[in-house]
């Protein structure tokens, strides 16, 4: 099917103000972003390329930003239900979102840096809370859930085989209100307000076409994707993600993270260069965990608490010998050697959603893992962990999602265009 929908989009695009003007101004900025990488970019309100800002992550590229990108400090993740009934409205939404995402990731207000259309009798196109803040390495990453691939938009035959409905894992206590959705957007930024601003504005733009189904805030990155940063700690107080796929390791990314040409060739060549994301809201019962002895905690994890060394070793990055670790320890069960070498790129975040019932912290890990194929990665790993991991006693999986994240966007493209224009 060709993209017969583009011609019908403008009526909805009127929801967004000066798209043409903004496109023009951004076209100029894009050249700066590509040529000078991240050294010469954009101040919050002024598009002057002379202003040096070092915290812009380019939006366009072969792969979406926000996957291999070094993990930022904060997360706002939102799942949307598409409420539009026309394919044309979905395409116009993706175009409008892309435009706004380009602006916000460049540190520019939604609707562009100029005065808002409609003067002071119209609501501002940008909600305003990110004014004066830098781009804060904001990345916006989109994923399509299984629900999008039904008959509403003619996408049924393009659902990737790798986009599986996750099985029920032992011990799942999933809340339907925190599961699934048609489209997910991951906003990551070093400044929490920048991430929140991004999701808020994208939700607003979506009115009438998509509505938030659930959302999650996260902080204190729970895993690093670059060896230059110290390995962060999760809310159990342990280093997490020591053996993670590194964002600068192109070979590992190609092997474990990016969908390749030939994967799912029959239905999903549009995913080439994309990745599959599994999101899990994992509540940690931190009160009971904190009462465990240090010995027990370390036996459950399989690493020392202080430096994160595998038990029996001295240093964090010492080699792991799974057979020397307790049989039900987390590190042993999740070790790649148990799964024919499969790895995932984890970039989860800690969360605390205030207090739950009885005054206990509603806290845990919002697990985010990018992978080439969940059928050989997350699903077997989680099945093994949920059956045997001693840590499961302290974990409750309360939310879940699986998402096909399309490849990156060309300068003249939009989020998901490979799907919506695939023949």
């Amino acid at each position: 099917m060709t993209d017969s929908t583009t011609g019908q989009a403008p009526s909805r695009q009127d929801r967004r103000g000066p798209s043409r003007r903004t496109l023009l101004s951004l076209a100029g900025l894009g050249a700066v972003g590509v040529g000078a990488s991240v050294t010469g970019a954009i101040a919050s309100d002024s598009p002057s390329p002379a202003t040096p800002v070092v915290d812009v992550v380019p939006f366009d590229g072969r792969h979406q930003a926000g996957i291999a990108t070094a993990v930022q400090a904060n997360l706002h993740f939102a799942s949307f239900d598409v409420v539009a009934t026309d394919r044309a409205d979905v395409v116009s939404l993706l175009k409008d979102w892309t435009l706004a995402a380009r602006e916000m990731t460049a540190g520019i207000r939604v609707g562009g840096p100029g005065p808002p259309p409609g003067g002071n009798l119209a609501p501002p196109t940008d909600t305003g809370e990110a004014r004066g803040l830098s781009a804060s390495r904001l990345t916006l990453t989109i994923g399509f859930g299984p629900g999008l691939f039904d008959d509403r938009f003619g996408l049924r035959t393009q659902r990737p085989a790798a986009l599986v409905d996750l099985p029920k894992f032992p011990g799942d206590t999933l809340d339907p209100a925190r599961c699934g959705g048609d489209i997910a957007i991951q906003a990551c930024a070093d400044d929490p307000q920048v991430a929140v601003h991004a999701i808020r504005n994208l939700s607003r733009i979506a009115a009438g076409r998509a509505a938030v189904r659930w959302a999650q805030l996260g902080f204190g990155k729970a895993s690093a994707t670059d060896t230059s940063s110290p390995t962060p700690r999760n809310l159990f107080g342990f280093k997490d993600g020591t053996a993670n796929v590194q964002g600068h390791n192109a070979k590992a990314l190609a092997k474990h993270v990016w969908a390749a040409r030939g994967d799912d060739a029959a239905t999903a060549s549009w995913m080439t260069g994309g990745s599959y994301l599994v999101s899990r809201r994992i509540r940690m019962t931190v009160e009971t965990w904190d009462r465990g002895s240090l010995f027990d905690q370390e036996q459950i994890v399989g690493r020392t608490k202080a430096v994160g060394a595998p038990l029996g070793q001295k240093h964090e990055h010492d080699p792991i010998h799974p057979d020397r670790l307790p049989v039900d320890s987390h590190v042993r069960l999740a070790h790649p050697s148990q799964f024919v070498g499969v790895k995932m790129l984890r970039r989860g975040f800690n969360f605390v959603d205030g207090a739950a019932r009885f005054g206990h912290l509603d806290a845990g890990l919002f697990f985010l893992a990018y992978q080439r194929d969940p059928r050989t990665a997350f699903v077997p790993v989680q099945l093994a962990l949920s059956r045997a991991d001693a840590m499961m006693e302290y974990l409750r999986h309360t939310g879940s999602g699986v998402w096909a994240c399309p490849p990156g966007v060309r300068a003249d493209g939009y989020w998901g265009d490979t799907l919506f224009t695939q023949a």
Partner: protein, 377 residues
Amino acid sequence: MPSSRLRPAALPAAALLAAATLTACGGSSAGDGTDSSAKNTVNINATDTKCKLDKTALDAGTVHLAVKNNGNKVTEVYIYEGKRIVTEKENIGPGTSYKLTSSLKAGSYQVACKPGMTGDGIRTTIKVTGTGGTSVNPQAKKAVDDYRTYVQSQIDSYMPVVDEFVAAVNTGDVAKAKSLFAKSRFGWETIEPVAESFGDLDPRVDLREADLETGQDWTGWHRIEKELWVKNSTQGMGPIATQLAKDVRELQSKVPTVEMTVASIGNGAKELLDEVATGKISGEEDIFSHTDLSDFQANVDGAKKAFEVLKPLIVDDAVVTLLETEFANVQTALDKYKHGDGFVSYDTVDEAQRRELSRVVDALSEPLSKLTAAATG
């Protein structure tokens, strides 16, 4: 019921008056006392290819365009301020003349002749300087007049229902009072933003228990609602009901002179949908009677009327189409809950259903928030 209930309601309205103030009784838009001698008359020689003005500098105030159609095609003449049409005259036949009169404030305008009555026309910029003039768009005046007529007719036609409700309360007929509660509020709920411009009238009539300050007297519909549904009684409600009818009559008497502008009408439409989004969807408005959906419908009706009277002022057809679509979607969603001559009790509408309603309301509210700018732009 707005969260801003206790704030002086006149303030936001006052801020908007600058946009396009129209006095209550309308009258001639040109009658501002400015000298309207020949020196403020532009003679226009219109042909099939030309639109020749004999002057392009004018004094603010009453302005005349004396058009002579010397062409072979029927023509029309417009004055534009930006994209906005200030005034227009269509169907000026070949060989005929027409004198178009308008009132212009200082500024830059364009005069356009449209031979054959199509296209953007042949345009000439004119400069208006000095003080005076109202630059009133006759379409804006009509919109305000139409909306005022609507507000008056809503109040007038629902006044007897209010009286009937009050009588039922006064005679202690609980069942009848309950049956009339939602209906008696309907007219009020369609035009509530107008009532909010009268200081304490709105809180006297429509304050919810949750919005009371400690020690504040509680009067109006919701006070009676609580007595009817919680105690199944009208005990002590007589004076409150009588005062309610008096207050609504006060509003009725004030409608002819209340300040109304295109901006206040557009903003009122947005406020009505805000009311739906924050009060009705959550079930907080009619927390005892669960008649929220009736108020919901009234708010939507009032917003839709505001949109309809402003529609001729909106240049962008896409905005009109989108709003028409979203109003229709909201109505379709509401229609599912119609029951008898009203609606089902809102406590039977579950959370998932409320979320569906909320989503269609959001879908309408977002473009509706741009109505004022679209109608004044």
